[in-house]
Amino acid sequence: MAPLDGVFETAGADPLRIVTVGHVDHGKSTLIGRLIADLGALPEGKIEAVAEMCARRGMPFEWAFVTDALKAERDQGITIDVSHIWLSSARTGLDGRKIAGRDYVLLDAPGHREFLRNMVTGAAASDAGLIVVDARDGVQDQSKRHGFLLSLLGIRQVAVAVSKMDLVGHDQARFDVVAAEFTSYLATVGIEPRAVIPVSARDGDNLVTRSTAMGWYTGPTVIEALDGFGGLNPSADLPLRLPVQDVYKFDDRRIIAGRIEAGGLRVGDTLLFSPSNKTARIASIEAWGPQARRDHAAAGESIGITLDPQIFVERGDLASHDTAPPMLTSVIHARVFWLGAKPLAVGNRYRLKLATAEVPVEVQAIERVIDTSDLGACPIDAVPTDAVADLVLRARGLVALDAYATCPPTGRFVLLDGYEPVGGGIVDMAGYPDQRPLDSRKSTNLTAVAARTTRVMRTARNGHAGGVLWFTGLSGAGKSTLAVAVEQRLFQRGYQVYLLDGDNVRRGLNTNLGFSPDDRAENIRRVGEVAALFAEAGLLVLSAFISPYRSDRERARAASHSLIGEADERLFHEVFVKADLALCEQRDPKGLYKRARAGEIPDFTGVSAPYEAPEAADLTIDTGHLTVEEAVEQVLHYVALHFPMVGGP
């Protein structure tokens, strides 16, 4: 049969999965029950069985009982859990013409607030959505919340059914009011419905059959709107993402098993495994069964491969091509929908599952809690059940991931509290750097040359030990002012001291770096390494950079300690120059905040990029409450304590 205009002939294709959502009692199950019946898809005897159930309860015929399979659902008249119904829209049109239609799985999701976890379970498994809004009640809390969640889950193909039109006398004016209100809400969450359809499920009006009572409506029926939805976007065009699910050694083969979540691969390709950063070539694609052996595979396939060389990989590793690797990060910025019974709070620890990786995370910050019905912000000390929030999570190690917008399958995760899944998250890493290039060592054939001039000798010559005072804080907090004054005073006291700041570092060493998150991270990495070298040379190094990311500062600390190699000595000292954002913005010594607020400077710390304050700074100088002289004295006192002059001049 030839495909009809706007209708896809889909023999052998996957069915399109449609979730019906909306406020409790707005008629989702009724609509589905009637739709199935009108497409002639009810099994034999079902109508009679439903009629008998209704008669037993002394109630009129209830279409919802077709899908409300649990007795508790029928007794209470609500849907508790999501149901899956297979359906084809193949039918005969009014003109007697056969319409090919296509195959669907309809997921009938509950509207009751208490069962939001089941609604999310259904919606997350769907490709498109049908939101049902009662013509009498109009737009309600769950109508909005469900619309918001569809948008959050990446579902953009949506139709709206305004139900129970028979109860408002098929009134066009009432329909227009409800349609306008809901369409404008959906616009704020980025959804433009393909159709808004007045229906009466009880009478079958505008489901499959065009309503005669609502001749004023000329748009598509429900089934026409569903048939008009586009097909699925395969993730085969994205870069390769193959999460390692398991490693098998049932026989002489060592098989890496997993499902390709995006992209494709070929025998002979070099794979990069993250976060371990190891590479190996694909030696073969393994399979069992009548299908011939293949030399390539693509997104969606569950495959097995062997590697050459047989490097150690394990479940949780994420394979990619080395030309397009995932991001590596210990800080995860995400929008999370929270289904936990207990509120989510800063400091709470959860287990995060992303593809096949599982890592413990801690909630570092709650940036925003979103009221899903008016999209306003709520107090942010905790995230209540069923709310949506923007969070910063911190993992102990590095996690391989993508932004959801770039690659959905590796850009989303589930949070677990103990055994229980309690939330889902969509990754958004805008403003956060990739931590991979900083960790990868390109020169590996290095052998340390034993130094003949030791640190002890240098300390004796200089009269003090070498080390790093790492000043961090917002722009305008007073880092440079403080560091310049401290450098001067220490020099006067006979210290071998040198100040690293943006002026002397960016002029030469880092002239090739800009101000993107990645470049800023590389800038700080180099400063950390230079500071470590100077410290090893016996100098007391002061550095004055915003250095907003905790991971970057940790790396600078590690650089100092790895070169000098004595873990018991504290050579790296983090000095938090503290002042709140409002004060810094008021000071604005270089006029940068003003420009950032005007949108002239992208990724500006404190305005459009995060500042992660130290968790346990070695020294905190609160410039909001100290004069410059008092602040300088505090630092000098600290230096005298930790870098005392021995037998000095």
Binding site: G12, E44, A72, I85, E301, S302, V414
Partner: protein, 266 residues
Amino acid sequence: MDHLDTLEARSLHILREAFHKLDKLGMLWSFGKDSQVVLWLVRKAFFGHVPFPVIHIDTSFEPPEMLAFRDRIAAEWRLDLIVGRNEAALVGGMNHTIGRITCCTALKTQALNQTVTAGGFTGIIAGIRRDEEGTRAKERVFSPRAADGHYDSKHQPPEFWDQYMTDFPPGTHVRVHPLLHWTELDVWRYIKREEIPVVDLYFARNGRRYRSLGCAPCTGTVASEASTIDEIIAELIATRVPERAGRKQDQEAEDAFERLRAEGHM
């Protein structure tokens, strides 16, 4: 990838999750069409191996053709077969004339729960599908069960993005459903494509065939002329007779099957 490839890939993913996550895994094998497909998928997932025991819950009322088929496949595919029976109930003369639901509960549900406990299983793979029946339409892929096998349909965990609840408190177990997203038609199309052996009872003789297999006294045939897989597929495309129409225990009460499942039935 066509639709069968998609279904298969998802099932392999589920089976591999279960095998990695669950210490003591077993698979229910009734040698019907669905469990034959699951077993085939297991061999695909694990590259020709079946790395856990298969469990037959033996009610002693299965048609003899099925037991012969069981023994042939178990030998050919080198299966580690466990046969679970509620011996006490069988010795006590349990049968369907006492009451179909009572009989099902004793010989299937209780036998299964006893086998799970005796074998220390933490995960049981079962080949149920959502399109079979209304309560199964609401099932999770990983469905937690209480220590006594009880299934609480009102408090199922959220399950999305193929991230399953794979960790459970001690004493509980989980049912794993790798075929949940398949339809009866998908199963037959896959059997045809992969040339999976199935028991002859599915093919029509004298105008009747079994659409769903179970104990002889409680499983009826449907009118059918379908004597090949192609004819079965053609019949399923056209029919409106539900798959479990021949299963008499489902028709005992409005929520007969729901109550059976709450006690731990598949």
